[in-house]
């Protein structure tokens, strides 16, 4: 019983933290006055974007960091999640509630539909992750990167070809095929009920971090890491590397799918399939590389920093790719393993020295 509680209480705390954030952060015209700092709904928006970036970066870390595979298709999984969930909540709301508007409040029938759509988004995305992961059994490095890149681009091209989104009036005389492919095409998916908020985003974000951290600390997680370290030795130590590689892709895709679903329900529309193109995948890869391949805290810090930077400096966003490229080059020269390498920040020697703490054992099971 105690063990059971031990297993679940971090998740409960995650939800609690998210709930507090949801209650505290201002929406609409509300403001929090801190004297020097006026916190308005723009902060709430950025906080939400940070949460989604954390979900994406930390999950990508399982593939690119832990397992040492190179995926450039993470935004593709995000798109799958976004479209799957948008389709479910949009057409589901029309079917069950008569219109596609979001219901007020956290715990409504609409939220139940939304949560179901999050799960569905994760599962569909995980299925695609499994399929995209299969080539990783034969391909390495650049070749795998090209396959995953191709996956994202093919998906984007297909989504651009879909039919217009149907509203509650169109749907009367629409065929099943039209409903099924009514994803909005190049115009994007509009009319997604705005169910997402800081509560959902940060619940998922913190839960993602906990799950990924628990995996990394566990023997299963170390099997992922062993593949990246030395695949031949991993096999020789009895690690079924094929199984773990595909699992890495599926797990990462699951969270990316959920992240995409949250993303779609934040603005209430997917502006265009091109929003989730390879450039976005590269953004996530950069977060993982800068933070440290295999370091969860590194990914979190990089996700926060690289979300705030372009948001706070509007002019900066034009030069984003240039700055990222320079950052990457500098890092490759100065710290090729990223800020923290494979470790978490509290395990890194130079940080410990900074705080002059005596090293303590961090390896309790």
């Amino acid at each position: 019983m105690v063990a059971l509680l031990r297993g679940f209480y971090p998740y409960a705390i995650a939800i609690l933290i998210a709930f507090v954030m949801y209650k505290v952060m201002p929406v609409g015209a509300e403001k929090i006055d801190l004297g020097i700092l006026q916190i308005n709904s723009f902060f709430t928006k950025v906080t939400g974007a940070i949460g989604i970036a954390i979900i994406m970066a930390v999950s990508l870390n399982i593939v690119n960091g832990y397992t040492g595979q190179f995926s450039l298709g993470h935004a593709g999984f995000m798109a799958i999640g976004a479209y799957t969930s948008a389709w479910i909540t949009h057409y589901g709301s029309i079917h069950f509630f008569g219109n596609a508007n979001a219901m007020e409040g956290l715990f409504t029938k609409g939220s139940a539909l939304f949560v179901a759509s999050l799960l569905a988004a994760g599962l569909v995305s995980a299925l695609f992750g499994y399929l995209v992961g299969l080539p990783s059994l034969r391909l390495r490095g650049d070749y795998l990167a090209i396959v995953t890149l191709g996956f994202g681009e093919i998906l984007r091209a297909l989504l651009n070809q879909t039919q217009p989104v149907l509203d509650e009036f169109d749907i009367e005389e629409a065929t099943r095929g039209e409903i099924f492919t009514g994803l909005g095409g190049a115009l994007g998916f509009s009319g997604v009920p705005k169910y997402s908020n800081l509560f959902w985003v940060w619940s998922v974000a913190i839960i993602t971090v906990i799950i990924c951290y628990r995996l990394k600390q566990s023997i299963h997680g170390k099997a992922f890491l062993s593949i990246r370290e030395n695949e031949i030795a991993a096999e020789a130590m009895g690690v079924p590397t094929t199984h773990y590689k595909v699992a890495a892709f599926a797990i990462a895709a699951f969270f990316a799918g959920v992240g995409g679903a949250l993303f779609a329900h934040t603005l209430g529309n997917i502006v265009s399939p091109n929003e989730m193109n390879y450039q976005r995948s590269i953004d996530f890869v950069i977060m993982v590389v800068l933070g440290g391949m295999g370091s969860i805290s590194g990914s979190v810090i990089a996700a926060v920093a690289l979300t705030i930077l372009p948001e706070s400096l509007r002019e900066f966003s034009e030069y984003r790719m240039i700055v990222y490229a320079i950052l990457l080059i500098v890092f490759m020269i100065v710290r090729p393993d990223g800020i923290f390498g494979i470790r978490e920040f509290w395990e890194v020697k130079w940080i410990r020295r900074l705080f002059r703490r005596t090293p303590k054992e961090t390896h309790a099971p």
Binding site: I219, N230, I232, A233, A236, P240, H363
Partner: protein, 260 residues
């Protein structure tokens, strides 16, 4: 005596090069046998075939009666055959303890869902395997380095960690590929004692590749000598020592044939 490993006329060639031809080996439970031969004789290739890295072009290998042909590396390891590498292949960025834990994964039953939810199975197995890993490290005098990054270990310790890691898979047979390479005579002597004690403590059967004749002769009960992929002698250390073919392979042919 029961036969544990039965290798029956294994052959493998790389293109035109016959790396291993008609190789036979019988090992009983508890044996400590040596596999020797000059550089390029095919010793490592023999290990690679046994562990599933290469598929043999002919012949059969059985472990405890179970056919190993066609199994992939990790299946063979889980069937009970573990190895070390001549060129050390540790998980460099992982700690010493983690290196051993990866290998002990062969024992876990809980799934990744169990890990994520901290199920009872997860807690019990992780705790047991952590404790077991530490005991193993103590045997190899590595316990005080458990949280050290394995890449930063001195060479001799890395070699010992390779053996410890292989043992963590709980093998029936341990294949050691030149474990004494690069060690000084003092270290070699300690290693020889370690190998003998490992056999006692862990009840494993050991097949040892080694260059150092002294070491092999002193601890192995039977020796197989390879040259250019061909088995040129098989027998006790005494028999091997006086075998003219072995002397020839190691010291070169007598003068008259070279005069041409």
């Amino acid at each position: 005596m029961s036969v544990l490993l039965d290798i029956n006329s294994i052959s493998l060639s790389f293109g035109g090069l016959k790396a291993l031809s008609d190789f036979n080996l019988l090992m009983n439970k508890g044996d400590l046998q040596g596999l020797i031969g000059p550089n390029g004789a095919g010793k490592t290739t023999c290990f690679n075939v046994l562990t599933g890295v290469y598929a043999p072009q002919a012949g059969e290998m059985r472990l405890d009666g179970k056919l190993l042909n066609g199994m992939c590396c990790n299946q063979i390891t889980r069937a009970g055959l573990a190895r070390t590498f001549q060129n050390i292949r540790l998980f460099g960025n992982l700690t010493v303890l983690d290196n051993v834990l990866v290998a002990s994964r062969t024992q876990i039953r809980h799934t990744m869902f169990g890990t994520v939810l901290r199920s009872m199975g997860h807690l019990r197995e992780e705790r047991a395997l952590h404790a077991e890993a530490m005991t193993l490290l103590e045997v190899f005098d590595l316990a005080h380095l458990a949280h050290e990054t394995s890449r930063n270990l001195p060479y001799g310790s890395q070699r010992r960690l390779e053996i410890a890691r292989a043992l963590a898979t709980r093998p029936k047979i341990l294949l050691l590929d030149e474990p004494a390479a690069g060690m000084n005579p003092q270290e070699k002597k300690l290693l020889a004692e370690l190998i003998l004690s490992v056999r006692e403590k862990f009840h494993v059967t050991i097949l040892l590749i080694e260059h150092d004749m002294c070491l092999v002769m002193s601890i192995c009960e039977r020796i197989t000598v390879l040259d250019h992929g061909v088995t040129i002698a098989q027998g006790t250390p005494q028999e091997i020592q006086c075998d003219p073919k072995v002397i020839e392979a190691y010291l070169g042919k007598p003068m008259e044939s070279e005069a041409i």
